[in-house]
């Protein structure tokens, strides 16, 4: 059976959920061979084996943290050369897309980004993508070379599928470009204790109607009652009420959770682009004409300062 390379996104050995989703998709095409790089790489093997990795290729070096992107491309190319896979799958983060594109160029292949589904096909893997602010769905294939495909979080379930997961050291020679862009300082983001926005099953967002950073506490309380991530519209971010890392929309994150709750968000195309593929959509907005209501499964026309606290209290009391 053909092997499929899976690039592992991990933090000091802790494998992030989107990588486990990639293993589910990789098993539809072939046998997953994982590539884990940097500090803690070998520690990923347990989780990867549990979810279907037959092999885990690892390489630890300071370059992965000290320089931008290229060392990882060099390593993934080394894995490609060693394995000759049927496809290469990479999580669709900003960095993941850059790594995938550069690898594709080097190996003379096409690259598909932001797939939301992947299936085996007669002429190679077929990716499903969303286009034009998710108003279209396309089916796309790579026509030349080995398909390199990045996949968005929440595109497949995480499935237990125990496999050998034997660890092998990957032999990597860094290219002349590897040390071109130096990372001179790194400030880790402070953990909020909430789920990662793109990975969360539920996202609670606030927009212009929240009317001030001091009021985002209401949104956070609702999110916490549901174990959800917090998002914000561009209007709220541009106004400085909430960090850009939480922005949902065309120039922020695009999310596809089971449940999306939009509070005080009108639903402009910019925002819809980032949340339209959510399974269930709920909105609270005082403007009955707001375009967000065209998308909702359930909407409340009302003042979010009345509705949201009541909702939070009701959820907490039902849980209690």
């Amino acid at each position: 059976m053909a092997e499929v390379l899976v690039y592992v996104d991990h933090v000091d050995g802790a494998v992030r959920k989107p990588t486990l989703e990639l293993l589910t998709l990789a098993r539809r095409i072939g046998e997953p061979v994982a590539v884990a790089l940097g500090a803690g790489a070998a520690a990923t093997a347990g989780a990867l084996a549990e979810h279907g990795a037959v092999k885990v290729l690892t390489h630890e070096a300071a370059e992965y943290a000290d320089y931008l992107v290229v060392p990882k491309v060099d390593a993934l190319q080394a894995a490609y050369d060693a394995v000759s896979p049927a496809a290469v799958l990479v999580p669709s983060s900003a960095e993941g897309k850059e790594i995938a594109a550069r690898l594709a160029l080097r190996i003379g292949s096409g690259v598909i980004t932001d797939a939301v589904d992947l299936e085996a096909g007669d002429e190679g893997p077929v990716a499903t993508q969303s286009a034009f602010a998710a108003s279209f769905t396309t089916k796309t294939r790579v026509a030349k070379g080995t398909p390199v495909i990045t996949v968005k979080p929440n595109s497949a379930p995480v499935e237990a599928a125990p496999a050998a997961g034997s660890v092998e050291a990957l032999d990597v020679t860094f290219s002349a470009q590897a040390t071109g862009t130096k990372v001179t300082a790194r400030t880790p983001r402070e953990s909020t204790g909430r789920p990662e926005l793109t990975e969360a099953a539920i996202v609670v967002s606030g927009g212009r109607g929240v009317n001030g950073s001091e009021n985002f506490g209401l949104i956070e309380s609702l999110a916490d009652s549901l174990g959800a991530a917090v998002g914000a519209s561009r209007a709220a971010v541009d106004a400085g009420w909430y960090p850009h890392t939480n922005q949902v929309g065309q120039t922020g994150k695009s999310v596809s959770p089971q449940l999306y709750i939009a509070n005080g968000i009108s639903g402009a195309i910019q925002h819809r682009a980032g949340m339209q593929t959510s399974k269930t959509i709920v909105a609270v907005n005082k403007d009955a004409e707001a375009p967000i209501f065209d998308l909702v499964d359930y909407g409340v026309v009302g003042d979010l300062f009345d509705v949201v606290p009541q909702l939070t209290e009701e959820i907490n009391s039902r849980k209690g």
Binding site: E98, G110, S135, T137, Q177, I269
Partner: protein, 261 residues
């Protein structure tokens, strides 16, 4: 010596229009008005600011696209760029990201450069990979997705705000930079700028000017194939209630019914 900045820009269908695919499954450019991709305005703005700080700098805006794409160049020139290059050729129709990066890289090399600045992604394709591809093709450092950028003594520095950390980056010129919409509001062209732009030079190059063959680009040369494009069915109309004092409880009832609580 003059700092040569090349800003790559894209002419895209207006995102607020009814965007769709043409019969050959390429992006339809006839039925929706086009314009300079909003995210590229940030690249033009940062180029202007870097040029202001430099003793001597020249900004060239570069686009690959059909005849109408000149509008995007004009907009960038009216913001303050010095000159423009338009790569236009019928054989370019349907070119994918890999092919676009090839054409841009050839044109950038022909134009001469110290610094390439791009937006973070186009607003139509939204892949966000062309800057990385340009760095790979040109063999120069990639300093991408910056929310802050500066150039001094032949070194570009910037801040990249990622999901898990904020990183300070540094590379020697020549380099490829991309900037996000957090890098600073783009200026509006002044009346004077608009008038001046009409006199600024716009060069037109075709594939032969770049020593490229038709088969290397276009739909034929594409590394990816779109097999189908279907419009997402409109979401079925949901229940909308007006808050009469119980809106939060009603919403909770709905969420409980859907097993979210």
């Amino acid at each position: 010596m003059s700092l040569r900045i090349v800003v790559t820009v894209k002419y895209v269908p207006d995102a607020t229009g009814d965007r769709h695919f043409a019969d050959d499954l390429t992006v339809d450019r006839d039925d929706v008005d086009g314009l300079l991709s909003e995210l590229d305005e940030y690249a033009v703005e940062q180029a202007l600011q870097i040029a202001d700080e430099a003793d001597d700098a020249e900004i060239t805006v570069l686009t690959v696209g059909p005849e109408d794409a000149k509008d995007a160049l004009r907009k960038a020139l009216s913001m303050g760029a010095d000159k423009a290059i338009h790569v236009e050729d019928d054989d370019l129709h349907g070119t994918d990201a890999i092919g676009t990066s090839l054409v841009l890289a050839k044109a950038i090399e022909k134009a001469g450069y110290d610094l390439v600045i791009s937006g973070m992604a186009s607003t139509d394709g939204t892949m966000g990979v062309v800057p990385a591809l340009l760095a790979e093709r040109l063999g120069v450092p990639q300093v991408t997705l910056l929310s802050e950028v500066s150039v001094e003594d032949g070194v570009v520095k910037g801040r990249r705000d990622g999901d898990s950390a904020s990183e300070q980056l540094e590379a020697s010129l020549p380099a490829v930079v991309s900037v996000t919409d957090q890098s600073g509001e783009a200026r509006y062209p002044s009346f004077k700028g608009i008038m001046a732009a009409k006199k600024k030079p716009v060069e037109s190059w075709d594939l032969s000017d770049l020593d490229l063959e038709a088969g290397e680009v276009g739909l034929e040369g594409a590394y990816t194939v779109v097999d189908s494009a279907t419009q997402r069915p409109a979401r079925t109309a949901g229940t909308i209630v007006k808050d009469e004092g119980e809106g939060g409880k009603q919403l909770a009832e709905f969420l409980a019914g859907q097993k979210f609580i």
